[in-house]
């Protein structure tokens, strides 16, 4: 138990519940330490589920939940988890939280459950989660680990939703399809806000490439490019 004793000094100083460090844990993953654009983790699901905005939002919420609580539970158990089997224990925690999400979604919104189908289960293999447990939750207090989970989940979700906005708008001409907020923006019928059957928009066609996963790769690539040219600190990171 020597290494844990070093990390936690015996005299506990009163720490603020929401100080600068805590704020940094929440905000850093949105910018300088974004799991997708900087750490390049969680790409598989970012390519797969982002063809529509609504399922992406649901996916983002699911990942935030799983990440925050697996960080919390791992951190609570960090001193009693045997080092030899820690990865397996972390996997058990992640897998059970994912099952909780799956069972809940199946009860609350069956159509989105069908749409996301296998990808909810695949949250288990999302490298962001395992990465945060190993890198953060195993060495930090529960409250900070929980915030770190929420921050990283938000960073992941934000990119997911930005990518999905582009893909759905240019691939299907709609936004939030399948949800009560459904908006029909551009398309070949009078139902759409911009009707492309005739008039000045008659050249417009939905871009079928946007519906395929490959489009997400281009969009994420462009986001990484913009992100790096906007924040020069990132250029030296990798």
């Amino acid at each position: 138990m020597a290494e844990t004793a070093v990390q936690e000094p015996k005299v506990k100083t009163q720490e603020p519940l929401f100080g600068t460090k805590e704020r940094k844990l929440l905000i850093d993953p949105l910018n300088e330490n974004n799991p997708i654009t900087v750490q390049v983790l969680g790409i598989c699901s970012a390519l797969a589920v982002t063809s529509l905005v609504y399922p992406s939002v649901v996916m983002a919420i699911a990942v935030i939940f799983v990440l925050a609580f697996s960080n919390l539970f791992t951190s609570l158990l960090r001193k009693s988890i045997p080092k030899q089997v820690r990865m397996i224990v972390q996997l058990v925690i992640i897998a059970s939280l994912v099952t909780v999400v799956e069972l809940t979604l199946k009860a609350v919104n069956f159509e989105v459950y069908k749409q996301l189908s296998v990808f909810i289960g695949l949250i288990i293999t999302n490298c962001i989660i395992m990465g945060r447990l190993e890198a953060f939750a195993m060495a930090n207090r529960p409250w900070r680990s929980f915030l770190d989970g929420i921050g990283n989940g938000l960073g992941y979700g934000a990119i997911l939703i930005v990518v999905a906005l582009f893909r759905e708008l240019f691939g299907k001409g709609s936004l939030f399809a399948g949800s009560p907020l459904e908006m029909k923006i551009i398309g070949p019928s009078a139902e759409y806000w911009l009707n492309s059957t005739n008039g000045w928009l008659s050249w417009y066609q939905n871009n079928n490439l946007m519906v395929l996963s490959g489009a997400a790769m281009f969009i994420i690539g462009i986001i990484i490019w913009i992100h790096r040219s906007w924040n020069p600190k990132l250029v030296d990171v990798s």
């Binding site: 045997p82 089997v85 058990v92 199946k106 946007m210």
Partner: protein, 236 residues
């Protein structure tokens, strides 16, 4: 370092607790899951007759769907000889499982919708697309020849290409008004034609880039509707 005994104890305790919690949650939610699944399947059936319902199936509430099924829909199961099998509801038939049985032992679901304009027969078909299974519901007017509507779904067709059979409502709506039989009574089925329909009665336009899925739909319709022919004979 922890002792081996501690490790075994820890892992057993953790998995025990987790297994207990998850199984409690799963049993607790089972009724809601079953209900959601039943409504999802009912919606899929109703979307084949969306045209005759005069409302969008999407906008119907769960209660309304249950109500339509209870009041207006008669469920029949038939065997491959066209005989009605009693004691089974059509929605209890799992087409995926039936498809694995030898042809002569399969059972087929029929939903009969009693609407304002007479009966509509909804039959289920299932086949193979490019990557995985595809299936659909075909609604027939009471002459058992004219198509009143169709709805398709799939397991894993390519989004934007093969998946358009489900996602693009204009694909399924092409089937409305097509005929299954030639005027002289020969079975003609409906063909999804690459490059545009040529026969206005028995062909619909294909989807560019989705030739294999479209051929799968053609094949599924021809084979699937044929299975129902003995039953159609008994009704006519």
């Amino acid at each position: 370092m922890h002792s081996t005994r501690y490790i075994i104890f820890f892992v057993l305790a953790l998995t025990g607790v987790v297994a207990l919690l998850l199984s409690l949650m799963s049993t607790g939610l089972k009724d809601i899951h079953d209900r959601n699944e039943a409504i999802y399947n009912k919606k899929a059936i109703l979307s084949a007759i969306e045209n005759s319902l005069e409302t969008e199936v999407k906008s119907l509430s769960d209660m309304e769907i249950m109500e339509i099924f209870e009041q207006n829909i008669e469920q029949v199961v038939v065997d491959m000889k066209g005989q009605v099998v009693s004691g089974v509801l059509a929605e209890e038939i799992d087409m995926a499982r039936e498809r694995k049985k030898p042809e002569s032992q399969r059972r087929l679901p029929v939903y009969i919708y009693n609407g304002n304009d007479g009966k509509i027969y909804i039959i289920s078909v299932r086949g193979s697309g490019l990557w995985d299974e595809i299936w659909g519901s075909i609604a027939l007017e009471d002459d058992l020849n004219t198509v009143a509507g169709a709805a398709f779904d799939h397991q894993g067709e390519t989004p934007g290409l093969g998946a358009e059979i489900k996602d693009n409502p204009s694909f399924a709506s092409q089937f409305i008004g097509k005929k299954l039989y030639e005027p002289d009574g020969d079975f003609a089925s409906i063909t999804v034609r690459k490059g545009g329909a040529r026969d206005p009665l028995h062909e619909v336009d294909g989807i560019s880039g989705a030739t294999v899925t479209a051929d799968g739909v053609t094949e599924m319709l021809e084979r699937g509707i044929k299975y129902y022919q003995p039953y159609f004979e008994t009704v006519k």
